[in-house]
Subunit: 116 residues, 2 copies
DNA sequence: ATATCTGGCATCCTTTAGGTAACTGGCATC
DNA sequence: GATGCCAGTTACCTAAAGGATGCCAGATAT
């Protein structure tokens, strides 16, 4: 009779890993922003226009959080007025398949709801 | 000069699909609960024990939302006291690959953070 | 000259998510 | 006969997320 049940421990681990992911990409906006930037919208206002309904305040806050988590890179160019560019990091690419799955499921779900 | 730029429209669609998904599985708890139930925890208290830190109130609320979105099924058996069982629906299975990707990324991310 | 663009920041406010604690009512256990 | 288990509910409260509005300063476009 082992003290540790390996399957239970593994199950608990899975949930913890999932929660780690959710901790990084929580909220309504972070993933949509990531996608918008990845699509090539590098300027603050372009991102705002791509992510419908987001305010500058929220966008600003979220971009900072994403930068801290090394998912986006912010570059400021010494023009006048300064040009600011956001790009996704190479680390952000590791989220690709996950995000694509989320997009695919959303499409599927939307179609399913429409049928009812 | 076409009025509609198909790539732009497609890009906007992707973001909308992603937001549809987020709308269904928002918050800290829904996905962890789904995983716990999928792992075979069918009883209310078992689920609560599996999803560390969740309160009965939150679990109760989230289960109702998941039931409404047809991701979990709630069955009551006419015993005394009544037995209640939660299971994931077949529709919930369509989330599988997405969730597995999220778990995988969380594990990878966790390892990466630890290395720093 | 006036309007509009840029990348935000500051302030105020509302909404929602989530947490705390207490309680229920039958049944089984000590 | 007191305690504990089950599956929750209720009321109350806090913290965080998110939204509304106004503003800045330098530049470009009309």
């Amino acid at each position: 009779m082992p003290d540790i049940q390996p399957d239970k421990a593994a199950a608990a681990q899975q949930i913890r890993h999932l929660q780690d992911t959710l901790y990084v990409v929580n909220g309504k906006w972070k993933l949509p922003i990531l996608v918008a930037v990845h699509q090539g919208n590098s300027r603050f206002r372009d991102i705002q226009r791509s992510v419908q309904g987001i305010t500058t305040k929220v966008l600003s806050t979220e971009l900072k959080a994403l930068e801290q988590n090394k998912l986006v890179v912010r570059r400021v160019y010494d023009t006048s007025p300064p040009t600011v560019e956001y790009t996704t990091s190479s680390y952000c690419d590791t989220l690709q398949t996950m995000i694509l799955e989320m997009i695919a499921w959303g499409k599927n779900h939307h179609d399913r709801i429409r049928e009812e």
